[in-house]
């Protein structure tokens, strides 16, 4: 029994830490949002300390992850790290909507960086009494997902009936294009060389057959692919070299084996067995068995 109070004491700081987490919504920004002047994220937190009357919250952002990246001293109002100077009428559970551009600026994030960048979100409680010390009461992490996929390569293009079947391989990472994970999607574009017919696009993963459909038979298409990271960084990813082999990129009214067999006048029409004689097999098997059993008995 003597151990229980000690165990409770050990658990209490853990509870306090769990309450002091800033949960941003959304949790990340891609390249487009990073450089946007309108994108916002809402910080939600429950303070580890109850605010007093007249206290204010001050919000800041630093490069890094979580509480350990937050400055131990409260940034001055209007300093470069501060994203919200003084949030008045604070409550234990509170929130604030912040422009992503402010977070990016405060943490010194370059939106064109090749790699993803985490940013620590820090909420300080600044007491009204100048004799009290301001403290960090909640912290969290907001991610700038900046990596873009490198240019993919086109492994193969197989012509089909009014379609092209394209297999894409992920490109190798470069110093500026680092998104090469399996969660990268590839958009294949089939554009008619002659200018007739519509351009088709279709999305899939590397190694998967991606089909450009509704194409015009007999028209040659230029096929390219471009990657899009899981965060949606796609438009800046480099496109593959076009696949220009004339035979491979020209859809034709291909027919397979079954169509060829039928066109040649084949008699089989599919289905299970043909006519009454098809049922002879199981019937004969059952009769044979009955005969065997009768002989045994």
């Amino acid at each position: 029994m003597a151990r229980r109070p000690a165990l409770l004491l050990l658990l209490l700081p853990g509870v306090a830490l769990a309450q002091a987490t800033v949960r941003p919504d959304p949790t990340y920004a891609n390249r487009a949002n990073c450089s946007s002047t309108t994108a916002q994220t809402t910080w939600n937190w429950t303070s580890g300390t109850s605010p007093g009357t007249g206290d204010v919250y001050r919000l800041a952002a630093y490069a890094g992850s979580g509480a350990s990246a937050c400055s131990s001293t409260v940034p001055a109002a209007g300093s470069s790290a501060t994203v919200e100077n003084d949030l008045t009428s604070p409550t234990l559970t509170d929130s604030a909507t912040i422009f992503v551009a402010n977070i990016q600026s405060a943490a010194g994030v370059n939106c064109l960086d090749a790699n993803d960048k985490p940013v620590a979100l820090c909420v300080y409680l600044v007491p009204v009494a100048s004799t009290s010390t301001a403290t960090l009461v909640a912290a969290g992490t907001f991610d700038f997902w900046l990596a873009v996929p490198p240019a993919p390569t086109l492994s193969s293009v197989v012509p089909a009936n009014a379609a092209l079947k394209v297999t894409v391989a992920a490109g190798a990472a470069t110093s500026t294009e680092t998104a090469v994970g399996s969660d990268v999607n590839y958009t294949v574009t089939c554009r008619p060389n002659s200018g007739t017919g519509a351009t088709a696009t279709k999305t899939g993963n590397a190694g998967q057959v991606i089909t450009c459909g509704d194409l015009q038979n007999g028209v040659q298409y230029t096929v390219t692919a471009r990657g899009t990271s899981a965060a949606g960084n796609g438009n800046v990813g480099a496109a593959s070299a076009p696949y220009t082999d004339a035979t491979a990129t020209t859809p034709l009214p291909f027919v397979g084996f079954w169509e060829t067999y039928q066109a040649d006048g084949g008699v089989d029409q599919g289905g299970c067995g043909t006519g009454g004689r098809g049922a002879l097999a199981p019937a004969a098997a059952i009769l044979a068995l009955l005969g065997l059993r009768r002989r045994r008995s």
């Binding site: 012509p159 397979g256 084996f257 067999y261 029409q269 299970c272 004689r277």
Partner: protein
């Protein structure tokens, strides 16, 4: 899955009945001194198979050859048998088997260009009655066991174009799907080499440890007709030649 079950049912039902109706092992047991009782066998085989689909055209056309060429893709099969009747001369087995075979090709355009993938897949189902002559090895230790086998077959098949079951329209505009089941028969003559002959001590040890009484490798030749027993509305999925099979058999 429901469609697959419907296709397989005609062959699976009698096969299940057959194995259930097989006599108790004790009635079929026959064994040499120091050996475990023999009550059945498992056979794994590989064959070079090519359905004789083009034969119905009598030279007017050759759709199979046009798409898949003249090769013979490998057919993999197993046959599980229970012994119905065992004597000092040989063993009569009733078995059920299945296998897998697929031919791949490329579709063809009116100008002769090749493109999209197309395939024909066959799952051959078998109910077989076989007789294996054990006398040579059991009596004289000559390590050969000739055998004969007759079987009823149900070849369940799918013809795919562009990764999907192919569909065409017949003269009356009705949809004709490229899938079905075709029944047939086969007769096999073969010979097996008893591997136990080369290391009897090891063979007996394996028998004691696993119950595998005898291990054989075999080569046989099969004549088959898979055309719904001569139906004029069926194609011929049997090989147009004596098809060889080779493999391994465990008798237990």
């Amino acid at each position: 899955m429901r469609r697959l079950a419907r296709l397989l049912a005609p062959a699976l039902v009698p096969a299940a009945l057959a194995l259930a109706a097989a006599p108790a092992p004790a009635a079929a047991q026959f064994m040499s001194m120091g050996e475990s009782p023999r009550w059945g066998s498992l056979q794994l085989s590989v064959s070079a198979y090519r359905p004789d689909i083009d034969s119905e055209f009598n030279g007017r056309a050759a759709p199979y050859t046009t798409i898949f060429g003249t090769g013979r893709p490998l057919l993999f099969q197993f046959l599980f048998s229970r012994s119905l009747w065992g004597t000092e001369v040989g063993t009569l087995d009733l078995g059920f088997g299945a296998g897998y075979w697929q031919a791949y090709g490329n579709g063809i355009a009116p100008n002769g260009a090749r493109g999209d993938s197309t395939s024909l897949m066959v799952i051959p189902l078998t109910v077989a009655l076989g007789y294996r002559l054990d006398y040579l090895y059991d009596t004289w230790h000559v390590p050969f066991e000739p055998y004969v086998r007759v079987a009823l077959l149900d070849y369940v098949w799918w013809a795919n174009t562009g990764g999907q079951v192919a569909t065409t329209l017949n003269a009356s505009g009705a949809e004709v799907r490229g899938q079905g089941g075709t029944f047939g028969w086969s007769a096999t003559l073969g010979i097996a080499l008893v591997l136990d002959f080369f290391d009897p001590t090891l063979a007996r040890q394996m028998d004691q440890d696993t119950g595998i009484n005898r291990t054989l490798i075999f080569l046989d030749f099969t004549k088959a007709g898979v055309d719904d027993f001569g139906s004029p509305k069926s194609w011929q999925l049997g090989p147009g030649y004596y098809m060889w099979s080779a493999g391994l058999q465990f008798v237990f």
